[in-house]
């Protein structure tokens, strides 16, 4: 198969996977929201912060590969923001939690 034919075959199958990825997005973002809710109630919950970080990291990698660059860049911003707080000893403050929530809302709107 010629290189251009192989690329076309990948693109055709990728369209199917992209639909599947998009169908799963609300669930991913809802899981992030739940982490934020947990952190709002208990900012020192490291498991919730770590989970939020991992969810953002996973979305960073997947979104761009499915052609959602804007979503991927917001996920990357959330990944970095949560990483910065994971590297600190103190829990995320109110401004940080607002930033997490705002990034998730923007991803939901993308």
């Amino acid at each position: 198969m010629a290189p251009e034919d192989r690329r076309a075959a990948v693109e055709a199958r990728l369209r199917e996977l992209r639909l599947r990825f998009e169908a799963g997005l609300p669930g991913r973002l809802a899981a992030m929201e739940r982490c934020c809710d947990t952190l709002a109630a208990a900012p020192g919950d490291r498991d919730a912060l770590d989970t939020l970080h991992h969810l953002a990291h996973a979305l960073t990698g997947a979104a761009g590969s499915f052609g959602h660059e804007e979503l991927g860049s917001r996920a990357r911003a959330l990944e970095r923001a949560t990483r910065a707080w994971l590297d600190r000893d103190d829990p995320p403050d109110a401004d940080a939690l607002r930033q997490f929530g705002e990034l998730i809302r923007r991803m939901q709107a993308d």
Binding site: R6, V10, R13, L14, L17, H57, A62, G72
Partner: protein
């Protein structure tokens, strides 16, 4: 990030064409899209693995010629998985390519000690992933 060793390639032939790739990534979407890109785009036989802890068993069973390994995974991360692979007969010499969203110069430098032959940045372009992997294989595996 270079490695001058000769890979075993499963069948022991250093000049064997690339056929078997083991992909280790915790994200199901990444596994799906990378498998599609490598199988459809490159004609490779791909086995996937969602946890670093399962990688050594998968490698022993599948005898991959090349391993694509996600760096950041919960539990056993990429570097820890690579160390575990290197301690096994199959994984001792197989070329490993790290896949990471952290692919800046500083991150590349910090990954240099991981005993990997190259690094692929995430997100990757599915349309060109197979070509990229084949180019790495020609440099480090063939």
């Amino acid at each position: 990030m270079t490695d001058s060793r000769t890979p075993a390639g499963g069948d022991g032939r250093a000049d064997a064409p690339l056929q078997r790739i083991l992909l280790i990534d915790d994200d199901a979407d990444i596994r799906l899209v990378a498998r599609l890109a490598l199988e459809t785009g490159g004609g490779f036989c791909v086995r996937t693995c969602g946890r670093g802890a399962d990688a050594t068993a998968a490698a022993a069973d599948f005898a991959p010629q090349l391993i694509l390994l996600d760096v950041m995974m919960p539990g056993m991360d990429g570097p820890a998985t690579l160390r575990a692979l290197r301690a096994t007969p199959t994984g001792a010499v197989v070329p490993v390519v790290l896949m990471t969203a952290k692919a800046g110069p500083r991150d590349r430098a910090s990954l240099r000690d991981c005993d990997a032959v190259d690094l692929i940045a995430k997100p990757f372009d599915p349309a060109t992933l197979a070509e990229r992997v084949l180019a790495i294989w020609r440099l480090h595996g063939a």
